[in-house]
Amino acid sequence: MTESSFQERKTGIYIHIPFCVQKCNYCAFLSFPASEETRTKYIESLIQEISLYNIKPEKTEHYKAEKNKAEQIKTEVDSIYFGGGTPALLEPEQIEKIVYKIKKVFAVTGDVEITLEANPGALGGDEEEIFNKLSEFGKAGVNRLSFGVQSMNDDKLHLLGRVHSASDVVRDFEIARDIGFDNISLDIILSVPTETRDNSTEADNLKSSIDDVKKIIELKPEHISCYSLQLEEGTVFYDMAEGGLLKEIPDAEDRNIYHAVCDLLKNSDYEQYEISNFALKADGETENKYNYRSRHNSKYWDMSEYIGFGLGASGFLKGKRYRNTTSLEEYCRLVREGKKPIEDVYINNEHDFISEAVFTGLRRIEGISYREAVRFLKNENFGNDESVFWGYYSNVRKEAEEFEKNGYLEIDRKGIRLTETGIDISNRIMALFV
């Protein structure tokens, strides 16, 4: 990528919908069940929050010129992502209203990617209901669906605390295809124990995750995300594990599962482009005009700007990282008062920029190029990008080379990237650069 193309990167918008049918056992996200009334009130606040970014032309005699100017300086947005929680619980009209508002306040590109996290089972009980709801979402502008499948095994789904079954996944997916959604992502959680007690063998555990992945490959989604189960404090799973009710799959086993899954996907026409993300390889015909990588998530890994709207949402805008309040009451109050509901703002310094570029960039399979990292250094540094980069990181170069020697990291003239085994210990390598 050239320097100018870094700057041409457009902004993404993340909309957080903190509501769900019931909290899943592994979930540490900000979400909770809520009444319809609360949800309606929340959407109103959300739309008000988006309006706060409106650039109002001054009402002078040159109103028209001012209006044009305002139009020109609007932030360009090419991705909108409804995450949660379970945003599919919203009414399609609510999604439409939000999208409409975003299109008024921002300069939304024609090819905008609008993703909705649609959890199976949250769309309705019978096929007609699901068909209608998904169709309406499509009319509201949604052109990419992300299904939180998590597993294709009903016992595991039950253990995870999901409200859906494996057959719901197939049903919802096929309905979405019938309607014409041609960009669908499926999420799956690896290394979920099949039993609450330790009766399963290593081979059982491996087979169980592989079976899950095989079943979703059969559906041929355009995108697959695979995350290893992670026990987060404050979740039901965490307490279960603490209490000995849940036997976590050991690290070494999990890594075998992960690599087996990566191989399986790569042999099934999927390209791994990030530690946990896989995109269907585009046909020759569509190669250049369409790419199934998640445009939105890619923004998190290449230092693009994104705005987070909604409760507890994070954003990265004009060199500042911020996070909205996590109190619903506070959120609604601040927005009502015409204030941005931001709780935490951090202004990135030079080191923040470069270190974030490196550690987020390392999540990508292509790694991070020196050019991409050193562009954040303000001072004119002599030498090529490679020497500037290692000049900046001279204190950790030896350790990085140690990782290279042991086969965890690739270092060449263009940049650095994790190897397959390096992914397993990515935190240690990333920590060098922060």
Binding site: D251, T360, R363, I425, S426, R428
Partner: protein, 602 residues
């Protein structure tokens, strides 16, 4: 009326958290000379560490003026006491400076074990004790139960114990009236030969050492040449005065009074707590009783951590020493840790406090090694060596035998924990001398036990087995021959001298296993396998392996919450800074102090 009749010298004694410092604050506020706006919470605890731990280490003393209901104005000297077993000697000297003590008992909790230790110290000094019931503002206060306990357990008449709340100020007046009635005025002859007890001292940059003292006989004024009766050193007095608690210069201090004395003294070791001040040209015939030389009982190595300068550590230690007579150090060189210092302390808490002060007040990053006692090594050629650093132990072939220090340990406990304490002491090579029932439910156990067994985690183990109810007091008894060996630790087949320990031969195998297991938990996984071995001489007696790491990956990036991820990585990186590199093995600094905390009760 004699001036002495209007003075009361007293201490406040209490269990931790029973409200000593709050009461002191209230007294200062009610009667003292500190303006309310200058009041900090808990005025007397002026070190951060003290505030945080809720314990008083460094003494403070203050003069209060109280106009009693009989119309007379009294001078009340409040002498504060430190509150931990390591500082029992200091406590006893503070109490010796008083004529009475206020015993604060939490009316919601009753008498607790630690209270007793201090009460006995006070009774040893023949002090009158005024019990008071604190926290009476709380609904859970049970004054009658508390009274009954004071009478039963301590044997003090508590029927008239004032009921107060140090927090709200309730009952403070009544308590002060009672204090004047119960605690006797000091006695002494202002025209006699000077005898003044040093009960505390600290170093002031401008005045040199400031001595806190109680005058028993005679008087002291500026220009006098004073002599420390135990150390024999003489100084010219540059200033005397009262503590309010700031310094208020006065013309003289005379018998019965409490105040401070300055005399361009360079370090506190020259004005040792417990020493007697007299006049050089008209000395008293004999010093006050009870003086003890500061004796380091516990030693450990202090080394600059990665990136810290040796000189900075040295400067800081010197500054601390000026102010702490009980602390000493000398240079030491370790193959594993480089240049550092061997430091001597009164006990474990004293050690913790010094180490924490190095980090906080001097912002230093240091590594501390395992604490050790001083062994007397009798060589075959008849020489006797004092060894406090295991690395310096001569080869076994040259040693005739080794002697280790034995302490007399007194443990006071509710009777239900006796069994548990006995098994702990037995595991620690303790020898029960006798056991006595103080009351129906309180027992005192008298043990002789090697100091070596007390210094690691004995106190923690005792507390955890007795839910904090047992109290421990120990003092040095004698040296005794013992079968001891040096246990070495090898990481990745390399000997780490700073991890060597001296242990009883019969326990070597189990200790070796324990240390290896502990290190296995402490040492992070590396890119390769790290063998951990324990050895006596050439013989490997235990082995564990830290497996190579397989996974350290955070898969999910929470909705673009990069900051969260970054914090995790920063924490990981900061954690690494607290590591020490030995060849290719990285060891967290805490390994050097944690490794022997092997509570056998688990």
């Amino acid at each position: 009326m004699n001036y002495l009749d209007k003075i009361r010298n007293f201490s406040i004694i209490a269990h931790i958290d029973h409200g000593k410092s709050t009461l002191a604050d209230r007294l200062i506020e009610k009667t003292g000379l500190v303006e309310e706006r200058d009041m900090k919470e808990q005025y007397l605890d002026n070190m951060d560490i003290e505030r945080e731990r809720g314990i008083t280490i460094k003494l403070q003393t203050t003069r209060l003026a109280y106009k009693a209901k009989n119309g007379e104005e009294y001078i009340l000297n409040l002498v504060d006491t430190p509150g931990h077993v390591d500082f029992n000697y200091e406590v006893s000297r503070s109490l010796a400076a008083c004529d009475g003590a206020v015993l604060v008992v939490d009316a919601t909790q009753g008498v607790e074990a630690q209270t007793l230790g201090n009460v006995y110290l006070a009774l040893d000094e023949d002090l009158e004790i005024l019990p008071v019931l604190n926290k009476m503002d709380l609904d859970s206060a049970r004054p009658e139960d508390a009274r009954a306990e004071i009478e039963e357990v301590i044997g003090l008449d508590a029927s008239e114990a004032p009921e107060i709340s140090a927090k709200t100020g309730m009952g403070i007046e009544d308590m002060l009236e009672k204090l004047i009635e119960v605690i006797p005025p000091p006695q002494g002859d202002p025209d006699g030969r000077l005898k003044a007890l040093i009960f505390d001292s600290y170093y002031d940059t401008y005045k040199g050492v400031v001595i806190y003292t109680r005058i028993f006989d005679g008087k002291i004024e500026r220009g006098d040449t004073i002599k420390m009766m135990n150390t024999g050193k003489t100084y010219e007095v540059t200033e005397v005065g009262y503590c309010i608690p700031g310094m208020l210069p006065a013309d003289e201090l005379k018998a019965g009074e409490v105040g401070y004395v300055c005399g361009s003294i360079k370090q506190v070791a020259d004005a040792r707590v417990g020493d007697t001040i007299t006049l050089a040209d008209k000395p008293a015939d004999k010093p006050l009783k009870g003086y003890k030389k500061a004796q380091s009982m516990v030693y450990c190595g202090i080394f600059p951590a990665e990136g810290e300068k040796y000189e900075n550590v040295k400067d800081a230690l010197e500054k601390l020493q000026v102010n702490d007579a009980a602390f000493n150090f000398e240079p030491e060189n370790s193959a594993a840790l480089g240049f550092g210092f061997r430091c001597g302390f009164l006990g474990l808490l004293h050690m913790d406090v010094i180490i924490e002060r190095l980090a906080r007040e001097f912002d230093l990053d240091v590594i501390t090694t395992l604490p050790s006692v001083v062994y007397k090594v009798v060589m075959k050629d008849g020489r006797i060596l004092d060894i406090q650093n295991p690395s310096n132990l001569p080869p076994p072939t040259e040693i005739a035998h080794i002697e280790e220090p034995i302490v007399k340990a007194d443990i006071m406990t509710p009777n239900e924990y006796v069994g548990s304490i006995m098994s702990l002491c037995q595991n620690r090579r303790g020898n029960l001398i006798h056991m006595e029932y103080m009351t129906k439910t309180r027992v005192q156990l008298h043990y002789e036990i090697p100091l070596n067994e007390v210094i690691y985690d004995f106190f923690d183990a005792l507390k955890s087995r007795t839910r904090g109810y047992a109290s421990l007091d120990y003092e040095f008894l004698r040296y005794e021959p013992s079968k001891l060996v040096k246990l070495d630790i090898l990481l990745n087949r390399e000997l780490i001298d700073a991890l060597s320990v001296i242990v009883p031969e019969q326990q070597a195998a189990s200790k070796g296993r324990g240390i290896c297991e502990k290190l296995k938990d402490i040492i992070p996984r590396h890119q390769f396998e790290v063998p951990i071995q324990a050895a006596i001489g050439q013989k490997i007696i235990a082995r564990e392996t830290v497996r190579a790491y397989r996974k350290d990956v955070l898969a999910k990036c929470y909705g673009g919450d990069i900051s969260r991820k970054k914090k995790l990585l920063e924490k990981q990186k900061a954690g690494k800074k607290r590591m020490r590199q030995f060849g290719s093995v990285t060891v967290p600094q805490e390994a050097f102090t944690e490794v022997l905390k092997l509570d056998d009760g688990k």
